[in-house]
Symmetry: C2
C-alpha cells in the first residue's frame, strides 16, 4: 500500500521540495511539477502513442519529465520523488504495471526503468487512485481524510482514500469499484461478469442506454441532436434532449441516475467516507446529476437519519487531480 | 477507528495480561477472559433478555464479567481492557451504541457505563467486526492482515480487517456489506432498499427462496423434510433435499450460491483481501458451499489470472470469534 512508507525528506535544503507527477493515459502523457502546496508549477503533455512498444513510451515519459522540469526551472535535485498514475492493474509495492488493456502492457517494471534514469524514488499507482488522492489533497475533498472517487468515463474507475492514504488492497488489485454487480445477470461488462456498475454508469453505458431509447422512440429529440446518426450520440445527448423538453431524454437520465445512485449508496455503506467525489465528463451536468444522487444517498444509506450521510460532490481538479495525486504517492 | 489507538500496557507486571471480551447478542451475553495467546481462559454466558430496559441488561453484563473472571481466577487488575461486540451501529470513537434494532437501543453510552464500574479501558465495535478480528487473530484467517468476513444469519453481516485492524468507516457506520445491491429493484431489504445482498444471501433469504420453490414444486422432497409445514423450512432444508436427490433442492442451492458468489466477488474486487471468511450456520454445508464460490471467484474476480485470487474459507471459531475479537479491540 503506497503512502504507508514515510515520505523521504527532500535532499536539498533551503529550497522548496518539488515532486513530479505523471498521469499516463491512453491518449496523453501529462507531467506536472508539483510544489509543497500541491500547486502545479509547470505542466507538459505529449501524445502517448499507446500502440507503440513499451520502451518508446518510457523514453517519451522521460522527455516529458525533462521538459516539465525545464519549464518549471526546477532541477531533479530539487525534487523528492516521481509518481506515476497508470491505467490498469498497478502493483504499487513492486512498481509494476501488471496489466493495462489501454496500453497493451503486461508485467512492465515501470518504476524501476524510470528510477535508473532519474535517480529519484519512483512510485506507481492506478490512475483513479491518484485522482482520488489529488482531490483529497487539493481538490473537492480537501480537508477530508476518507473519500471515495468514482470516475465516469469509458469505464467506471474507483479511487479510495482511507485515513489520508490510497487504499487499493493486496497487490493493489482492489478498489475496482466499477466491477461490482448491481444488476445480477444484467449487461455484459468488459470484465466478463454481467451487471457491473461500469456497464450501466459509465459514459459508454449511458450512450448505449440512450441509443436503445432512441430506437424505441422515433419521435425523440435525441434523433435531431445526433443528426440522425446514433454513432454521434454522446453522454451529453440525453441531458441536452431533456433540457429541450424531451420525455425520452428525461427517462434515460432518470434511469441512468438510478443505476449510479445504487452504486454510490453501496460504496457509502461499505466505506462510509466523508464524501463521495464524482469525476468524468458527465459531471459537467452539475446539479441535474448531483441533486438526485444526494437525495437518494440521504434516504437510503444505512443508518438513515441516525448517522449523517456523506456528501456527494463533483471532482474539482479535472485532469490535474491525477498529476497531483501521482506526485504525492 | 478502533485499533488505531495504541493498546495500553497491562498494569500488572510479572503476570499474564488478560483481556475481557463481551459478545452481546440478541439472545445471550457471552463473556470470555482471553489470554495473550488469544485463548479463552474462561467463558460465561447468560440470557440477554433483550426486551428489558437497558440498565438491567448492563447490570447483567457486569455480573457476567464478574463470573467469567471468577471462573478464570483472574482479577480485574490482571486485565488490560474490556471490549464489547454489539449488534447494530456502534460508534467506536464514542463507545456509543447508536442504534440496535435487536436490543431496541438508541444512543446508549455503553462503554462509559461499564468503564465507571470496572475502571478499565472499555471499547466497543459491531459484532461482525469483532468476529472478523477474532478470526484474523486466532481463527480461519490467522496470519492474514487483510480479510473480509461475511456472516450469513438472520441478516448478512460484514466485518473488514485491513492491515490487522478493524475498518468500519466514519462513525463506524461502514462495512455494512449486506446492504449492497446485487439485484436492482429486487427483493425488499430490511434497510429499506431493494435487492441488497442480505435479502438473498442471508439464511432468511434462503428460507424465503426455498418456500417459494416448494410452492411451485409440490413434488419436491422439501415438503417431506418440513413435514408439510413451510414454517419448518430452515436454511438446511434445501441442502438436505439436494443430498437426497431432489431437483428443486438443487436448484434452490444453486441459485442461492450464485447470489452469494456475486457478493463475494464484489468484495474481492473492492477490498482485494488475502481471504474471504464465511460465517454462520449455512457454512456447515462445507464444500457444497465453498467449492462453487471459490470457482466463481477464481473465474470472475477482477484481474483474472494476472493476480492470484483470494481464498474463500469457512469461519473457524464459531461464537468464540466475537468474544476474542471484542477482547482485542
Amino acid at each position: 500500500m503506497e503512502g504507508t512508507q514515510p515520505k523521504p525528506a527532500c535532499s536539498v535544503s533551503h529550497s522548496p521540495a518539488y515532486r513530479v507527477g505523471i498521469d499516463l493515459g491512453g491518449t496523453n502523457i501529462a507531467v506536472g511539477v508539483v510544489d509543497e502546496n500541491y500547486h502545479i508549477a509547470a505542466k507538459h503533455s505529449i501524445p502517448t502513442g499507446a500502440q507503440r512498444p513499451y520502451q518508446e513510451i518510457v523514453e517519451d515519459m522521460k522527455k516529458a519529465v525533462k521538459t516539465a522540469l525545464q519549464i518549471a526551472g526546477v532541477s531533479p535535485g530539487e525534487c523528492c520523488s516521481v509518481g506515476i498514475g497508470s491505467p490498469g492493474i498497478c502493483d504499487s509495492e513492486t512498481g509494476t504495471v501488471v496489466y493495462s488493456n489501454n496500453l497493451g502492457w503486461k508485467d512492465v517494471p515501470l518504476t524501476a526503468d524510470l528510477q535508473k534514469w532519474i535517480n529519484l524514488p519512483c512510485r506507481l499507482s492506478n490512475d483513479a487512485n491518484c485522482a482520488a488522492l489529488g482531490e483529497v489533497a487539493a481538490g473537492a475533498a480537501k480537508g477530508c481524510k476518507n473519500a471515495v472517487l468514482i470516475t465516469l468515463g469509458t469505464g467506471v474507475g474507483g479511487g479510495v482514500v482511507l485515513d489520508g492514504k490510497i487504499f487499493s488492497g493486496c497487490h493493489s488489485a482492489g478498489a475496482e469499484l466499477g466491477h461490482t454487480v448491481i444488476v445480477k445477470d444484467g449487461e455484459l461488462c468488459t470484465c466478463g461478469r454481467h451487471g457491473c456498475l461500469e456497464a450501466y454508469a459509465s459514459a459508454t453505458g449511458l450512450i448505449r442506454q440512450t441509443k436503445r431509447a432512441a430506437q424505441q422512440h422515433p419521435e425523440s429529440l435525441i434523433w435531431k441532436l445526433c443528426g440522425g446518426d446514433p454513432e454521434r450520440i454522446s453522454g451529453r445527448t440525453p441531458f441536452e434532449a431533456e433540457r429541450q423538453g424531451d420525455e425520452t431524454g428525461r427517462q434515460v437520465v432518470d434511469a441512468y441516475l438510478s443505476y449510479l445512485s445504487e452504486g454510490v449508496v453501496d460504496f457509502v455503506n461499505i466505506f462510509r467516507p466523508e464524501c463521495v467525489i464524482l469525476g468524468g465528463g458527465i459531471c459537467n451536468e452539475g446539479a441535474r446529476l448531483l441533486d438526485p444522487i444526494n437525495a437518494y444517498v440521504c434516504h437510503y444509506c444505512f443508518g438513515g437519519e441516525l448517522v449523517e450521510a456523506p456528501r456527494v460532490i463533483r471532482a474539482a481538479l479535472g485532469n490535474d487531480a491525477g498529476i497531483i495525486g501521482a506526485a504525492l504517492l
